[in-house]
Symmetry: none
Subunit: 180 residues, 2 copies
DNA sequence: CGGGGACTGCGACAGTTTGCCGCATTTCCA
DNA sequence: TGGAAATGCGGCAAACTGTCGCAGTCCCCG
């Protein structure tokens, strides 16, 4: 197939399997997909030829994907970046959008959702508001994520501040966020 | 304490009790606080004299607070708006930031957290940064009390909404008779 | 360069809490 | 007033938490 007119898309995720699956799905939908498993690789790719779109995971080995967002946009402010993470939290979502991402999705998300997110326009005040409050588990997850960010990712300091044992915090973080 | 240079803050929330408590706390921290229980009132207030800061809830009776964000900023792009909601979601957080809010918090949040959120990335040196986050236990307790009140004290309904077993909620409520 | 000192990941184990059952009473309205 | 819904509580297995320990990694400082 011709790559001449295909919009290019950079997929950054340290999960190789996930990359393959999503990458293939996006290719089928008419994207010229390139993949990187870490920030450094992604930046190299972008320097030679900036893509039009990018899908970035947050939990990349080493530095967080948040930093990558800023670096990608510094190289080319026109890239439309969507964050896609299995450890979604409001705190990181806020940060990602402030940094210039166009959207933020929680895994699992299929190719269509990613596409919709990439295409999303600016602020749309018509988004419906949740009908039910956060569950205890979700609230706890959000709170932990926020404090963790305030402490620059320092687990020990966060645990102390939260009055919770470090081991317990570790175990909580190892789990995925609770839905709802 | 001089009142000459107090920064003005608009608090928009349909929960009158919540407004009073938070409003008082913010006043004590050196803000000239004005309160509105609905969007229309808020807009009127802003037209006469735009505040420097605003704290808005998302589920105002009638239209969502998201729309209000856009309208407030249309009247004065310099207002620093923080969203504070009991029905937080990543989707609305993303929208709020895109619309121009500087931050997004889930209730329960105390006045210090609100201040920290207002100050975020703004580099406003007048605001103290010394914030100790709520412990997990306290956060949970506040949240439970809030939802319980919304459900008129109905334990079964609250437990359902919180995705928690009714027996567990009973035990939690029994254990902590409103001590801090 | 060699030591603290702090952080991190993780196994193990006992003590606590939660999920989930069942059942006897109230409460609440239609 | 009848029945649905809510409540209070006992009990048990499963899941979670608090603790301790240990090894490995970073980084600063003398």
């Amino acid at each position: 197939m011709s790559t001449a007119a295909l919009p290019s898309l950079l997929l950054v995720d340290d999960d190789a399997t996930f990359c393959q699956v999503l990458g293939l799905a996006l290719s089928r939908r008419g994207f010229d997909v390139h993949t990187a498993y870490r920030s450094a690789t992604a930046l190299q790719l972008v320097q030679t030829k900036p893509p039009e779109y990018a899908v970035v995971d947050l939990n990349l080995a080493g530095d967080s994907g948040l930093g990558l967002i800023a670096e990608l946009l510094a190289l080319d402010p026109a890239i439309r970046i969507v964050v896609l993470t299995g450890y979604a939290s409001i705190a990181t979502a806020v940060e990602a959008i402030k940094l210039g991402a166009v959207n933020y999705l929680a895994k699992p998300a299929d190719a269509d959702q990613v596409l919709a997110a990439l295409a999303a326009t600016g602020g749309d005040p018509t988004i419906p508001v949740n009908v039910r409050p956060l569950s205890i588990g979700r609230l706890e997850w959000e709170h932990i994520q926020r404090v963790l960010r305030e402490n620059g990712g320092n687990i020990s300091a966060t645990a102390r501040q939260l009055g919770m044992h470090r081991r317990t915090l570790q175990r909580k973080l190892a789990k995925r966020p609770v839905k709802f």
